[in-house]
């Protein structure tokens, strides 16, 4: 229900408002949602609703959704578009969009997002985001940009698989993640290998 209202609303947003409607428009609704949040959620390990990586055109490079908040590809892409429009011009690292907490980070031409429920502990989501970014940074030898990432897609797939499993945080230590992804020996230069392993 809420998401329905949202999607119609945000569509209207796209057509009627200019590009500057952006972030604050999202905030307005988010605030309303904020003020009527129910008390508490059931204690659960399920923390992450989605992990996204978009390029600087807002196109999906990687997207993994862990629940049915956005069941169809169409809804997912619409959400990604919305999220990108509202975050790509600012360097602030957290926002509340469509009733979800979004933590994000950008580097050169990549945008990393970790999405969780608005009741979720923001710092937990942040831990996931940092772990993902730091792991990739090590695997790509600090060269975190679109081209390098595309050339190492399997590394990315494996890393996310080690960090989150079905919405549960599996590992939050980038060293461990890089170790477990275990790209072939000749992949990591000797010096770094000694540091990481």
């Amino acid at each position: 229900m809420r998401s329905v209202i949202w999607s119609t609303w945000s569509q209207r947003q796209h057509c009627s408002e200019g590009p500057t409607g952006g972030l604050e428009a999202g905030l307005r609704l988010s605030l309303a949602e904020l003020e009527c949040t129910p008390l508490r959620q059931e204690p659960s390990l399920h923390t992450v609703k989605a992990v996204l990586i978009l390029d600087n055109d807002g196109d999906r490079l990687y997207a993994k959704y862990y629940d049915d908040t956005y069941p169809t590809v169409k809804e997912q892409k619409a959400f990604e578009k919305n999220i990108f429009n509202k975050t790509h011009r600012t360097d602030s690292e957290i926002a509340l969009l469509e009733g979800l907490t979004v933590v994000y980070k950008s580097n050169i031409d990549l945008f990393f997002y970790v999405i969780g429920s608005s009741h979720e502990n923001e710092l937990m989501l942040m831990a996931v985001l940092n772990c993902l970014f730091d792991s990739l940074s090590q695997m790509l030898r600090k060269n975190v940009e679109r081209r390098a990432l595309l050339e190492n897609m399997e590394g990315l797939f494996l890393a996310v698989d080690e960090i989150v499993d079905g919405g549960v945080i599996l590992e939050s230590d980038p060293q461990q993640v890089v170790h477990r992804v275990a790209l072939r020996g000749d992949d990591v230069p000797l010096t770094e290998q000694t540091v990481t392993q």
Binding site: G22, E24, L31, R40, L45, N121, F157, V168, L170
Partner: protein
């Protein structure tokens, strides 16, 4: 073709291996090689690929090697999985492409997915680590698309129990993805071993996979509790966290077990911050359920977490305390001070988390947050707008009246930097603030007028205009400044809706200000400059000035004359009409046609007119036969969240009364009664928890009343039939007809009706009490099947008495200009009486010490009582009693059944009790009584 592929690959492969240090870099050469293969292929789609690839190569570094992947081409390539020997690099690349396509949301058909899946299983023969890991991923991704995924079970089981630690964790996760309950039992032994494995990644994988399996096979996973328990004491922080999560999910329905577990872990202490967060959540849930007091050890535990080293845990604990119901200010204090520290953190996420939680505290305990005001003010300029908005709205909730000026100044510096939708939030906050501190209206008004002058879209301007209008309505002193600001605004306003709204307001309020003439200029400017709709509204507003102020009348008439030359029909019509009415110089005409418009329900009018045109009668159309508009419940603008407003507009649903009208008209016995005059709110005739629940709605017609009894049978072993509510009137009312509800099965409401004729000879007998008894035939029935016995017995059930009061005969109408209507009705049928309101006096007496407060209270109480007793509509906001006044005049307007206007002026004076002098005027004599 397939052969070609393979041959060229095999030839190329060694050379590549030699030339490239690292397999991933082969992407570009790989594609150019694919190109060379493609060139030999005739099919058009492949040619397309070739073209795109070329373009990509030319465009250089910006290219995406996956951008123009074709699913069919990739699946074609997947055939090389079947070749011996396996080329790991090439296969890895193809698997990556497949997963990439799945990730992009590409749809794979069952057949093609199954085919690829089976080809992939062959890759288990290779010992390349990365390739194997990608196979696990492919299995997981395809688990729901492909058929017969279980064929890889044995390979995965082998990897999960093998020597390679790198394989074991991911193999467990992939295996659990494709396993069902029966197969789970087969691997149960391995799962138990894996949970307690000393390698953290294996243990974590097994625990998390078990957690996912709980939903499907609770009974199997339940048997692994001991292993999970052992894992919980692991040194690894993630294993600890996952074990705790699994244990809780297995035990969450057993409160005692959860309590024990909590005790154990809170005492032993954990290393993992994640596990601490989980513990805090479990503890606060348990506190919530057991309604444990805040002296419980669980609360102490949560509080102790405020001193944890890890910010994540500290925040979780603070948030848990803030969200507890009935938290006292003292208990909140430590949590708030922790959050206060976070407000100045360099991490945006932490600042956000803190201010968001403080915002929640401020809703219930504004005073608890005041200590953080300084920190919050620093956040107003935060580069993250989420944080800034939250800081502002929190401050507006917590700020004291004295700080409002300073806050407003701060906000004005801020407002210009942000965009419209965000400003609307601020305007709404200001609007709420105005209600809280009415005395600050001058500051607000200034601020709002400045905002009104800035650029902005319609939504934003509308929010400001609405806010100003509500301030004007709340504070009579602010009326003139407010109107002046609005006049200035319409001088340059591109929004027709807002301009007409303001013109209407000017017409209503302007004539009664000390200097009405100054508004004329603004209004007439609109006639000269604006579009048709605005011009028409301006003409109506002008007419109101002319009708109310005799000295302005000549000039208004001159202006009207000019308007009669307008190019638009509607404007000309209005001008001509008003011109003629005004020239009569009769107060009654002015009142009826200029101040107080039609008070009928618009859908009702439409229906009646349509009916009339279908069957033209000899006599003219009678407006009194049209049902009256029920006055809308006063809007509570401030409480409607923006979400609601965005979906509400233009929802012109038929009113409740129109629905009843339809329902009743469908019953043949009631068709002759004429239009429905009024329907009351439902009255409960039984207690809420009884066997049968009955509520009554009173429908009033010109000479009759229909009582609609909505009955619900709450017994699942009974079927009621022929349900009738028998009514014994106390006065001269006469029961004409009963319409029974034929059948009343369990929990399905049904309606029975009773028609009563109102006494004609004595129109003063308006109130009456009916004693009601419900009579029915009971048939016992089977609670499960609902099948009734063949025979039943008669029974009856006594209901509470039903009262008919004056309010049922009266429909509220809103007369925007009460004074004019009062004069219009005249004093022919006037009656004056004085009452001392006894009930109010007692209230006054008890609150004697708070004299001033009681003063206003008594007034309000009295006013409320009168309104609800008479069921009339208060006019000109006379229902709001200003404070510190000893007397008050209440204006009420309504229509008596049959269409006679009734106006009541009640003067209330406060002496020892409240004395009320009621003056009633009506268009018909009998009604006055």
């Amino acid at each position: 073709l397939g052969c070609y592929d393979v041959i060229s690959v095999d030839v190329d492969a060694p050379q590549q291996e030699a030339s490239l240090h690292f397999g991933y870099v082969e992407v570009a050469p790989g594609i150019s090689k694919a190109d060379s293969i493609c060139r030999r292929r005739p099919s058009p789609p492949v040619k397309m690929i070739k073209k795109f690839d070329k373009k990509d190569e030319e465009s250089g570094s910006g290219s995406n090697p996956f951008q123009h992947l074709e699913k069919s081409a990739v699946l074609q390539e997947a055939r090389i999985f079947n070749e011996t020997p396996i080329n790991p690099r090439r296969c890895l690349h193809i698997l990556t492409k497949i997963i990439y396509l799945l990730n992009q949301g590409e749809h794979f058909g069952t057949t093609e997915a199954t085919e690829a899946f089976f080809a992939m299983t062959r890759l288990f023969q290779s010992n390349d680590q990365t390739l194997r890991r990608m196979c696990y991923l492919t299995i997981k991704e395809m688990a729901n698309i492909s058929e017969d995924v279980i064929i890889v079970t044995s390979s995965l089981t082998k990897d999960m129990t093998g020597k390679e630690d790198v394989y074991r964790g991911p193999a467990i996760r992939a295996l659990c993805r494709i396993t069902d309950t029966t197969m789970l039992q087969a691997i149960e032994r391995y799962m138990k071993q894996a949970i307690v494995d000393k390698v953290p990644s294996v243990s974590s994988s097994a625990l998390v996979s078990s957690l996912h399996m709980v939903k499907m096979s609770y009974d199997v996973v339940k048997r692994w509790v001991n292993e999970a328990q052992e894992a919980a004491s692991s040194d690894n922080i993630m294993v600890q966290y996952h074990a705790l999560g699994l244990l809780y999910h297995l035990r969450k329905n057993d409160r005692l077990a959860v309590t024990k577990m909590l005790n154990k872990f809170t005492k032993s202490g954990l290393k993992s911050p994640f596990a601490y967060c989980m513990l805090i959540r479990i503890a606060s849930k348990l506190l919530d359920e057991t309604e444990g007091g805040h002296d419980s050890p669980l609360f102490d535990f949560i509080e102790s977490c405020l001193r944890n080293k890890n910010e994540m845990v500290v925040y979780e604990a603070a948030s848990a305390i803030v969200h507890m119901p009935n938290c006292t200010a003292r208990e909140l204090a430590p949590a708030v001070s922790v959050l206060q520290l976070f407000c100045s953190s360099p991490k945006a996420a932490l600042r956000y988390a803190a201010v968001r939680t403080l915002n929640k505290v401020a809703m219930k305990h504004p005073s608890a947050v005041t200590a953080c005001n300084l920190d919050l003010e620093n956040l107003i300029t935060d580069s993250n707008r989420s944080i800034a908005t939250l800081a502002i709205t929190t401050l507006l909730k917590t700020g004291s009246e004295s700080s409002v000026d300073r806050l407003m100044k701060q906000i004005s510096s801020f407002v210009s930097e942000i965009s419209d939708e965000f400003k609307v939030v601020v305007v709404q906050a200001i609007s709420a603030l105005c209600q809280k501190y009415p005395r600050k209206h001058s500051v607000m008004m200034n601020f709002l007028s400045n905002m009104l002058r800035d650029d902005g879209g319609f939504e934003y301007k509308r929010a400001i205009v609405d806010c100003i209008i509500s301030i004007i309505e709340e504070n009579p002193e602010s009326k003139e400044t407010g109107l002046a600001h609005l006049c200035e605004f319409i001088e340059d306003c591109e929004h027709t809706v807002l301009a007409t709204k303001i013109l209407h307001l000017l017409g209503k309020e302007g004539p009664r200000t000390p200097q009405p003439s100054k508004y004329i200029r603004f209004i007439f400017n609109r006639v000269v400059l604006e579009s048709e709709a605005v011009r028409a509204a301006a003409v109506s507003a002008l007419a109101k000035f002319g009708a109310q102020n005799d000295d302005l009348l000549p000039s208004v008439l001159v202006l009207m004359q000019r308007c009669m030359m307008d190019s638009d029909d509607e404007v000309r019509d209005r001008a001509t009409f008003y011109m003629n009415v005004l020239q009569q110089k009769q107060k009654a005409l002015n009142a009826a046609y200029i101040f107080n418009g039609l008070s009928v329900s618009i859908p009702g009018l439409e229906k009646s007119l349509h009916q009339y045109t279908l069957e033209p009668l000899e006599k003219p159309f009678d407006i009194k036969s049209v049902p009256l508009a029920t006055t809308p419940i006063t809007e509570q603008k401030m409480e409607i969240a923006p979400v609601a407003t965005s979906k509400l507009p233009e929802m012109l649903a038929p009113s409740r009364q129109d629905i009843y009208q339809e329902q009743l008209a469908s019953i043949p016995e009631f068709q002759a009664l004429g239009p429905l005059f009024k329907s009351s709110e439902p009255v409960q005739l039984t207690e809420a928890e009884t066997e049968y629940v009955v509520r009554c709605i009173k429908h009033t017609f010109a000479r009759h009343m229909v009582f609609q009894f909505d009955c619900t049978n709450t017994l699942n072993d009974q079927l009621l039939q022929k349900v009738v509510v028998q009514m014994e009137p106390s006065e001269a009312y006469e029961v004409v007809h009963y319409i029974p509800a034929p059948s009343l099965p369990y929990s399905q409401p049904g309606s029975s009706y009773t028609l009563v004729r109102l006494p004609d000879d004595d129109p003063t007998a308006v109130s009456c009490t009916f004693s009601c008894t419900m009579k029915y035939l009971v048939r016992d029935c089977d609670p499960n099947t609902g099948k009734p016995d063949d025979d039943g017995y008669d029974d009856e059930y006594v209901l509470e008495d039903l009262e008919v009061t004056v309010a049922d005969h009266i429909q509220k109408v809103l007369k925007p200009n009460f004074g004019a209507a009062w004069e219009e009705v005249g004093d022919e049928n006037e009656k004056e009486e004085t009452f001392a309101l006894a009930s109010v006096r007692t209230l006054d007496g008890t609150q004697f010490e708070y004299f001033k407060k009681a003063d206003a209270c008594a007034h309000r109480e009295a006013v409320g009582n009168i309104i609800s007793f008479l069921g009339m509509q208060p006019c000109e906001r006379s229902d709001k009693v200003p404070e510190n006044k000893n007397s008050h005049v209440l204006f009420l307007a309504a229509v008596f059944r049959g269409g006679h206007d009734v106006l009541v002026r009640a003067r209330l004076a406060l002496a020892d009790g409240v004395t009320m002098q009621v003056t009633v005027r009506s268009t018909e004599e009998t009604v006055v009584d």
